[in-house]
Amino acid sequence: MTLRPAASRQGYDKVVVAVPVSVPYKRYAIEPAHWWVAEALRALVAGAGIEATDLDGLSVSSFTLAPDTAVGLTQHFGLSPRWLDSIPMGGASAVIALRRAARAVQAGDACLIACIGADTNHVDSFRRLLSSFSRFAQDASYPYGYGGPNASFALLTDYYMRRHGAQREDFGKLCVAQRENALTYPHAIFKKPLTLEEYLEARPISDPIRLFDCVMPVAGAEAFLVMTEDVAKDLGLAHARVLSAIERHNAYPDDPVQMRGGWALDIDELWGMAGLSPDRIDLLETYDDYPVIVTMQFEDLGFCKKGEGPDFIRSHTFTNDGSFPNNTNGGQLSAGQAGAAGGYLGMVEAIRQITGQSLSKQVVGARRALVSGFGMVNFDRGLCSGAAVLEGVVP
């Protein structure tokens, strides 16, 4: 039997995001993840000028809530939502939380949804998270040097460099530019400039990856609200429309090494739904667990062709005041990676940038942003990818 072609996806008309919240990061925290969720909820409620009980939807992403899940948080914080979601998708969490919350709002299942990414970072959190991450990693990755995601992405980076002629300097340029952007963002964990030389000479972690190719694990939380445009106007909130959003999991499973993410499968739909071409974007928030993944997103999201990433890097500055602003608050590489909140960092930053509330240096005239997510190295590659195009509306 042949299936009829899938119906074309409906738009996200009238759905908006508002109240971007960042709970300032700490390198290590003694507080559990619940504390970070609480801080995010408190800031959301205060920012929206509502009561916590007005929230009728909750979406949570966290690696460190155990033994709790999103369910336990409702009782913990006295919420009675009629819509509850848990998105265990790491770096793709925010895009996917937004996409699903937007559908719920559209369908009337909820009218005010809090989307939160929050994780704590105790001194031994990273080691513990690694040891229980996935069955394939346990069986087929950890027994090989136990380099964790650093080693997996080192293999991707090595392969990309061999295949497409990327140089360490190219990846270095991205990291240095993000640091420059981070210096304008008060919550960034890194406060000092980074030179290309420092990047190139940094401590080796897993060749060809060195220290500044890697994110710094931190504790923190990021959050935003999803609602209809009418509700945002009633509350008098600066907001951004959701023009389009995609998600995809385990794309191209037969590629011997991950050379492309799921974006490449859905990119036409992403831009088609938004009614935009890539050159109409004012800023890009890529998921930057490693610079090779940023490069892959430039290609797979349609800003250049596959393999042209290195040339693309050489032709832009990626700074907030230069050409092609990317990761305008420094991204995780400079602001820090707060577990699943790392997936939220770019989303929250983009909402601020395009609604005139930026904490980092404002990209002049920024109205439209593309936010990209990528997550979950189950074995040898990231499985989840997603992207959303947002357009700011300033009341």
Partner: protein, 413 residues
Amino acid sequence: MTTPIKPPPKKDPQIPTRPPQLPPMARSRAALAMSAAAAAGQFALQTCRDCGTVCYPPRDGCPKCLSTQLAFAPVAAGGELIAETTVQASTDLYFRERLPWRVGTVALDCGPSVMAHLHADLTTPSRVTMAMKLDKGGNAVLFALPEKATAHMEDDPQYRELNASPKHRRVLVTDGRGAVGQAVVKALLEADAATVFVGIADPWKPFAGESDLAADPRIEVMALDVTDTTSVKELAGEIGGKTDILVNTADHVRPGGILSRTDIVTSRDEFEVNVFGLQRLAQAFGPLMRARGADGVNSAVAFVDVLPIHALCNWQDFGAHSASAAARLSVLQCLRGEMRAGGVRVLSIFTGPVDDDWRQTVEPPKVAPVAIARAVVAALQGGIEDSTVGDIAKDVLEKWLDNPKVLEREQQA
């Protein structure tokens, strides 16, 4: 080529012995089946019985056809090394002590891409031959080797972690009075063992081959009676701290089943050597070896037992001996788990009937002592947990894997 490893310097007694660490141990049940294949020295991956897809990492449903009929089967061992990294930082104690550690991505000819340990002589990209080896924790790992052998390739430190090479190591062979023990001694020395201690019960009794043992300066003959707890303990006190490999060649064998004997005197003798002798050796040497599992070039690596294949299924003609062999196998299984904490391998060499005086009336094929010696060295060099020697042993194993109950009937008169 690999730089040959040098004999280790004499141990400095003031430097503490490094407590052994193990590589990450957790595995799914499907992955343990890969360890079972590696234990027998096979290169086998999970293969879908319905569509033939080779699956990796091991799983519970086929990613092409969703069949749950997945079984480990031998696959082509060739592949292309397409990416590599040298891990320079790890949160795992075992690897932290062994950094830098080189791994790569290999696109296997049989389908999947895998992460593998890399031999030092490999460059990227290149053709490789894959091996499946047991790591120090007893779990299967994939190792990529050059397609063509390179000089001293067995000396690559990452490769040496996955075998139990006798090179530069000191070995105790527990019974040198018989032809099997003497052949094992000779083979170990040919495989560059530094010293071979040879146990002889009642050394005042002369025996064939005695002068050959005495003539070689690398051999030290030691009094050892495995039926005597004091004797075993005394020897362990003397050399237990420098026994890197123990090969138990002691086996007391007499023909006959249960009803063909009228008492248990002979059986008791068999158990004293074959079961309790093994236990005495394990209890005296095991803890010392287990503590030295990460002690440099000549760390303790293996406890080897040569035992009859009829440990798997009773052979009526030697029924009482088979019973002791079955008990012996069970002891080894327990010991394997206990020695794992030190990363010391327990290797079983299953033999068919040995060609000796006690099996004079047994029809051929029978196993020559030199074949057992070769198998012991091959098991050590390959880190192979279960080996068989001789056609009978291979035949019995195959039948046992096929249907143990049918084999039981076949082994009866």
